[in-house]
Symmetry: C2
Subunit: 427 residues, 2 copies
Amino acid sequence: MSNPISVEVINFGDELLVGIRENSHLKYLGERLSHFGVSITRSRVILDEPGEIKRAFAEAWAHADLVITTGGLGPTADDLTRETIAQALGLELVFDAAIEATIQDRFSVLGRTMGPHQLKQCYRFEAGEALHNERGTAPGLMYKNAGKTLIMLPGPPHELQPMFENQVLARLQADGILAEEEVYVLVRCCGAGESSVEQMMQPLIEKCPSLTVAYCVHFSMVDVRLSCRDGSLSQEQLDSIGHEARQLLGDDFVCFGHSSLAAVVCREVLALDRKLAVAESCSGGALGTALTDVPGASQVFVGGVISYTDDVKISMLGVPESLIEQHGAVSPECAVAMATGAAEQLSADYGLSVTGYAGPGGGDADNPVGTMHIGYHSPVGVWSKTVRYTGDRVDVKARVVQAALDMMRRKLRKYKMEEFLSGGSHD
Amino acid sequence: MSNPISVEVINFGDELLVGIRENSHLKYLGERLSHFGVSITRSRVILDEPGEIKRAFAEAWAHADLVITTGGLGPTADDLTRETIAQALGLELVFDAAIEATIQDRFSVLGRTMGPHQLKQCYRFEAGEALHNERGTAPGLMYKNAGKTLIMLPGPPHELQPMFENQVLARLQADGILAEEEVYVLVRCCGAGESSVEQMMQPLIEKCPSLTVAYCVHFSMVDVRLSCRDGSLSQEQLDSIGHEARQLLGDDFVCFGHSSLAAVVCREVLALDRKLAVAESCSGGALGTALTDVPGASQVFVGGVISYTDDVKISMLGVPESLIEQHGAVSPECAVAMATGAAEQLSADYGLSVTGYAGPGGGDADNPVGTMHIGYHSPVGVWSKTVRYTGDRVDVKARVVQAALDMMRRKLRKYKMEEFLSGGSHD
């Protein structure tokens, strides 16, 4: 299916322009809309100032069929968006007693009284609709005219998202703007760079000229998004192209869709009915965090030790003091001992560990800053792998977590049969 | 200082519009530019398609003094940005042998040979300059004409950021576009909502009509950014207004600037020359991650235990089995026992713990999904605090980490004198 309409997202808010936070709305809206066959055509972030709002809104309204705005609906004095857009559309704002009643209700549940500045939030466009806010006071606003639709959503993500899911999606589907189904296949891979992946996909592109292939690199992963803008490929055809892509990618193939490496590892360990523990030095808990971000992780993940000092590696993980003296705490040997220690101390079948220098301090001639060793203990053997990354420590931590999970994923697949036959501690 | 110029950022790339990733460039560029007295006036994200590129670029070039683009400079077939913008500017692209030599060098160091598709990256605008890429092949491009400046940067953050720091900043300062100094004060607070903070700031706004106050809410924190667009307040005056804001905020004041709660806690513990350990159930390592994101954390943080199961709480943290039987693992009592266990087992002075149901599974009548207990052990006492959050587990984990760190921050300040006199295990 081709994109039926042109969509523009306008984010209001100084904080997005001065670097205080990332634009999570754009990611969220883009991801959700693409599930319903629509992609955002363009997006802009502008200052919450009447002149800027008016110009950007006029440009967007002239060129797009659907305009979605975020932010600027709050009760604070700098939220002028509602008023300015009404002016730009030549509409009146009307006081809506139903909105006031809803806000009153919300405040009385919270044991607070509604202040006069909240009254600003009780206005909607004369010919428009207010969208209920389950999680805050500011309602959203919707307005339709001459085949165009405007949707204004509040800024806080925990207010915007339920409103979009529960109020907006159904309305846009009813208007025929959103489709019912997903019309793309996402193939996630890890271990090859963007150019290599592009080369691996070449046979597919030659075979299907109507295929649109987009690449997105994040850390060690490359997402290949297979879609068809002219509508000539069905979902079944896209699925089958996705399976061909999987074959072409070989061991670098991670999964279809957006599953994290942690989720893929949890699935594999769950399928074996085994348990996993971690031992983390420089990653500081980031590996455990990645694993416990996966819903249902508790079926697989028992916990771990963050061993930021040598003492903790020795006392909590049973790493021999002599091993640290001989090889150092940043060594493949220590990584393996930590992985085995985690599995043994926490009664798990698998242990995954990281030790290294995340920077900015630390490092020596053998192991400069950014050098990290991954240790892996499984019922069929122990392995280590050394990686080196540049960047700040937050980046380096995120990368080594991906590398550790990818190493475990590959070993689990490579030794699938041996793992299955090995009999873990839970058999 | 008032914003001397109008700045527009254009991000090219389908992946930013279909929700695959967040626009980290905008946050980075916004943050860096604001340190030099310039804020981004507007920003847009558009598809990598010639029609879209041409229209967006023309609009931006007409209205802005400085246009910064990101992405679209790579060697893949969908990177058409360079060509399209040259057309829009009416400029020729010229082959630059110096760029080719640089790319050749880079490839030979990596032991690879340069492919023909890399040649695309050797072109620059006829009247423009190429910006060296320390970390990748695609050079950036710079073009100046009639008082306007165009800067084109590569998409990968680890290429863009060093280029911006080492190539772009000095050039923009030399052209008088960026100032030398920071011209705002950021006051970070935690514990009060945006409306309350706005009310607390009211006396300042009444006193200084030329003060611009912007608020940004993220999780439990509210950032108050104090600046002055008309240039009538000096840095000293802004600093002194910042100190007044601190008084008005009382215990909710966290710090000046962008320090995380974890960094503030690390600073306080370091000032006392003590050590900190954590015990994490539902937060799964996120508390350790937040602490180890702080450069120099190893001076303070010794590590922790991720105790995702009851067994691990008992065996690794010494939580009495009978306590779990009587009160449950999700209880204030267990949280305190975990905090004390972490401090004792890891030989630290302070223990900070989290236990609860992050969802989507788990929960009971007393402790519905989203209920979490924080435990805190210090040389002067133990405390617990119960919080409840809604949202997905990633959100809930991030929030409870903030709550735990904020609790510890408040206790450390409240008992500052007692802590100082108490004598930790390291005295």
